[in-house]
Symmetry: C2
Subunit: 315 residues, 2 copies
């Protein structure tokens, strides 16, 4: 069941590109030119899940569970390692630096006080813990912002994701080996072809049957056609650990890219396996490290950066 370029052409032919595609291309182009000129390494990090609309006037859609933890935290560590990062994320998923704040109680952070002139005025009355967290994140964020090293691009549907990824990959290709794809998004494996999609909300009489087609695997054209010179890291998530490593190895053999990060849904914050064509390396966290609030993404990104440096040196 090989997936050739024909299937891709059909997919892109049968689906509409997102309205902001040209804008995204221009801003990525500027970003890549700026950082490519100083030979800075650039990562495209994808993050969060994609949706599959079930109606063209969308009320219902299939979604993939992903808050965007892996992608948003890894982005911070790539930035810490000096990279410029295009953070391509699901709209409203977790964002780098902002992910450390929970806004449900946001209004409780403030107090209204009456000034002498009897006008209501505002006082920020945050806990010392929150104050310290703000100072900590701001001190990193302000530097990244000043150096213009973080570009946000958002998507919602699987089709938007695929059009954007293809367009960005073709721009990335000019970077050669200093470009890295770190594909942490949970992309839907299935989609509902536009011609089979009802225009209006499905009526709720009787049972509902949906038959979805397989989304062509994007790694195939990414590695072979769109950006063959880049360093590519993909993720494999399974809930069944017996399948995990064999499926990761299979992916490396099939697509011939550099690394598959294999992780299981219930242990993904504690253990992953980095699978390459010659190696399987376990990265894990001790209880002590987790208690201290350390994150596995720091170790993952450090390892990937080392591999990326070797890759650049050898190309």
């Amino acid at each position: 069941m090989s997936v050739g370029p024909d299937e891709w052409e059909t997919y892109f032919h049968n689906n509409e590109p997102p309205g902001n595609l040209e804008d995204v291309k221009s801003s990525v182009d500027r970003f890549v030119k700026e950082h490519g000129a100083s030979n800075r390494k650039i990562a495209l990090v994808t993050s969060g899940g994609t949706t599959v609309p079930l109606e063209s006037n969308t009320v219902r859609f299939v979604d993939n569970f992903s808050a965007g933890n892996r992608g948003s935290s890894s982005t911070e560590y790539f930035l810490l390692n000096g990279y410029a990062v295009i953070f391509m994320h699901r709209e409203k998923s977790l964002l780098p630096y902002l992910r450390h704040f929970h806004f449900q109680n946001f209004l409780d952070w403030f107090k209204l006080t009456s000034s002498v002139e009897q006008q209501a005025s505002l006082e920020l009355s945050v806990s010392s813990e929150l104050h310290d967290r703000l100072v900590k994140q701001l001190s990193v964020y302000e530097k990244v912002k000043k150096e213009n090293r973080l570009l946000h691009i958002s998507f919602t549907t699987v089709t938007e994701y695929l059009f954007l990824l293809k367009a960005i990959a073709k721009i990335f290709d000019r970077l050669g080996a200093i470009g890295i794809f770190y594909l942490a998004a949970a992309v839907s494996d299935f989609y509902l072809p536009a011609p089979e999609m009802p225009e209006h909300k499905i009526q709720s009489t009787g049972a509902l049957s949906i038959t979805m087609k397989q989304v062509p695997k994007l790694l195939s054209p990414l590695v072979r056609e769109w950006a063959p010179k880049a360093f590519t890291v993909s993720f494999k998530l399974e809930t069944n650990k017996d399948l995990l490593i064999s499926k990761a190895k299979q992916a490396i053999e099939r697509y011939q890219h550099q690394v598959v990060i294999a992780n299981q849904l219930d242990t993904r914050k504690r253990m992953v396996v980095l699978v390459t064509s010659s190696d399987e390396k376990i990265i894990d966290m001790s209880d002590a490290e987790l208690t201290q609030g350390q994150e596995i993404e720091q170790k993952i990104v450090e390892d990937i950066v080392k591999q990326h440096n070797l890759f650049i040196a050898s190309s």
Copy 2:
């Protein structure tokens, strides 16, 4: 195709109640006792969409488009009209008062400054527009909070929603006519029965077929059994306007509750129709009102409050 109590019993029998059900019951019980004792009117507002998991170790799920605008804004207007409100919302959907803030640029609201002792310190440097908005929302929110008039309850799946609604309805029933259900949540019409759900992530080979069953309509047991003395408002959302009013009337006849608010996906912020057994009333917004930032929920809630007062007087 009538939906009797048997179907409900089967549904609740075949699905697991949420883990926090007893906690929710206790906090709703306390809330209802406190406000019922002072004869304050109490609204249960539901808000946001429900999910339908496709796997028991959930990676994929079907979701309903709803940011929670209608529910969260209506909650503010019920509070403004003196009600106590149980805001039963989809986790991470829009919240009353907080919905006025967009947190994507949150870190840009602050500046780090160096104090004389060379320690980093924090300065809130918000625009005057944001400052005014904060003062405006805080001045309302602080009063509501002091009077303990707003209780947050959250759900994610359609099953959680249904278990919680049933439990809360049975507590509400003690309130008689001063209780109002304002069911703005976009509840899934379909679900995947637990026995038919695969344990692990669906493998992405070939096509995916899903067959879902119809969720029993909750209005039927709500109005007849769980809380027959309350005032009940349901919503009907369609994308096809030709179906809208006829389906709303059908619902009123079938379930014998007080009001259906009929709205269309693309015009829902500009026009709704309030359908009762004897009347159809259009509520709409002029361009001028919309430009000034007024919201249709203010008018809707004012009308519902009037009807609710008449209902209380006549019961």
